[in-house]
């Protein structure tokens, strides 16, 4: 997670929160949340090397596939769930979001925007596009359900997921007039706080 994104997420998560980070990677965000915001954090990750990195970072982690693992959290009460660039890797992102909002009051979601002009150009060229946000080749990507900002916000509307906060970021990870005015075309990433 780059610095700008991290500072947004840190800003949104209140101190002393109980946090679950689905797709926590090496646990860097949880480590900062624990150190700077006295959070109680748990990560969910399925990659043994990343899990080991979490252990080195002193972060509590659960080895699980997110789609299958989410059912285990029934009846739990987290303040915030985080899904940083992992929602598009899920087999059932809509069901996962529904279930996550049952176990957490709020969910921070970061989304690579497949509607970004650069990616659209790639498609126009007749090839699966790649970008800094989506660098993997089509045959290697873990992404199963890529979507655009418009798609995602439509889903939130249909499912009555309230978007409490959102920030659009350009290719350089910063805010810009273009990305804010025409997010579906110019934002490379979006960050949402959903409740």
């Amino acid at each position: 997670m780059d610095n700008k994104l991290q500072s947004i997420v840190l800003d949104w998560i209140p101190s002393n929160s109980k946090v679950i980070d689905f797709g926590c990677g090496d646990g860097a965000l949880l480590k900062i949340l624990t150190e700077q915001k006295s959070a109680t954090g748990y990560g969910v990750e399925n990659d043994p090397e990343k899990i080991n990195a979490c252990i080195i970072n002193g972060v509590s982690v659960i080895q699980q596939d997110i789609d299958a693992g989410i059912q285990h959290y029934k009846g739990m009460d987290f303040d915030v769930a985080v899904m940083a660039s992992s929602i598009q890797c899920l087999r059932k992102p809509r069901d996962a979001m529904k279930n996550i909002l049952k176990v957490a009051n709020e969910c921070v979601i970061t989304l690579p925007n497949f509607g970004n002009w650069e990616l659209r150009l790639g498609i126009l060229n007749g090839k699966m596009p790649s970008s800094s946000q989506l660098p993997a080749k089509w045959y290697e990507t873990k992404n199963l359900h890529l979507c655009t900002i418009t798609d995602f916000e439509e889903l939130c509307h249909e499912e009555s997921f309230a978007i409490k906060k959102k920030i659009y970021l350009n290719r350089r990870g910063g805010s810009s007039w273009l990305a804010n005015t025409f997010p579906n075309l110019f934002a490379a990433q979006a960050v949402y706080l959903i409740g």
């Binding site: 979490c54 252990i55 080895q63 009846g75």
Partner: protein, 366 residues
């Protein structure tokens, strides 16, 4: 590796969970490495069902090293150049600590079947007295696999301030019904040996060796995975020159015969029964309205809960169950499912992934 093997006597009477009392007891211990001046580098390793104090290194005349030698030693996962590792034979065992083969002061006879019932929390009490004796106020880590993992969990529950990390490996917060059933078959086999004499075989100069052997053969099957057995033995026929028994056809039969025979020479039948009973009764949540979340709430240690994918005796759901309760209780806890080639016994053997996880956990900041 500096190794010290020592039998330590404790004069205090020990009130056991069963309500019975042991008037003094002895612990056979083995330590590896050196305790630092602050006494902050101590790691307790707890043995599983048939283990003992001899966890690492090879003693003179011994064919095989200690039970966790792949993990404990200079430069190994639990690095004895850095940590002071304490291992002991639990009471009720038969490798030097007070148990059914010990002579009872009251009768001047071996305790035999009269040795009181012991539990996992009784073991933790004796280990706490051992920590006091050694001047260790807080373990850097308590670790164990299977029944040893249960002790690590009990430590975290019983003495929250005296343990920083608990590695609970191939274990559960209580064993399954199927496990109790398997243990009962093993006990039945032992008790029905004509030389068992209601547990008083030592006084009668007898040995229920055959029962113990058969019980162990059954147990051994449950410790291995089906695929591991297939890979190792397949349907290979036993070389006729090395048959343990004339009726043996297949290699796997011979292997079990051999393992059972060896075990029956070194283990005590009453200890076998006591150990299985301790395993059956382990259920720390029972003192908390059967609520594991409540039970874990007092824990201050960091937990590492690891299951092995090929373990059908303590399958991953059991580890995950502790993890989910730990999250509900808001305690620091990590769960993972490791690849293990050897079924339940995988916890005994080194693998890169397993070793890295345990090492990183032990060396991570508390």
């Amino acid at each position: 590796m500096k190794t010290v093997c020592k039998k330590i006597s404790f004069g205090d009477s020990l009130a056991l969970e069963s309500g019975q009392t042991l008037s003094g007891f002895e612990l056979m211990t083995e330590t590896y490495g050196e305790l630092n001046s602050d006494k902050t580098n101590a790691v307790l390793v707890c043995h599983a069902f048939s283990g003992n104090h001899h966890a690492a290194g090879t003693q003179e005349g011994e064919e095989k090293p200690g039970w966790w030698d792949e993990m404990i030693g200079d430069g190994k996962t639990i690095d004895t150049t850095k940590f002071f590792v304490v291992s002991l034979n639990n009471i009720g065992g038969c490798h030097g600590s007070s148990g059914p083969t010990t002579i009872a002061a009251e009768t001047d006879q071996p305790y035999g079947a009269n040795f009181p019932e012991v539990s996992v929390s009784d073991w933790v009490e004796t280990q706490k007295l051992l920590a006091d004796y050694l001047g260790i106020s807080c373990w850097e880590m308590v670790a164990g696999g299977s029944l040893g993992g249960m002790q690590a969990l009990q430590w975290a529950i019983s003495y929250p301030k005296r343990i920083k990390k608990a590695a609970i490996i191939a274990a559960s917060s209580k064993i399954s019904t199927q496990n109790i059933a398997l243990n009962e078959v093993a006990r039945e086999i032992i008790k029905k040996d004509e030389n068992f004499h209601n547990g008083d075989y030592l006084v009668k100069g007898a040995s229920p060796k055959n029962g113990l052997k058969a019980a162990r053969m059954l147990g051994h099957i449950t410790y291995l995975s089906e695929s591991n057995m297939s890979k190792r033995f397949g349907r290979k026929l036993q070389d006729p020159d090395n048959k343990m028994d004339a009726d043996v056809n297949y290699e796997v039969e011979n292997y079990l015969q051999y393992k059972g025979e060896q075990f029956s020479k070194t283990f005590d039948a009453n200890s076998y029964i006591l150990m299985t009973k301790a395993m059956d009764s382990f259920d720390p949540a029972k003192d908390f309205d059967n609520n594991l979340v409540k039970c874990l709430q007092s824990i201050q240690a960091k937990l590492l809960i690891a299951s092995f994918d090929s373990d059908w005796l303590f399958p991953k759901e059991y580890g995950l169950d502790i993890q989910m309760s730990a999250i509900k209780a808001g305690i620091d806890s990590t769960y993972l499912e490791l690849e293990g080639a050897y079924g339940h016994d995988s916890f005994l053997f080194y693998s890169d992934q397993y070793a890295a996880v345990l090492k990183n956990f032990l060396n991570s900041n508390g």
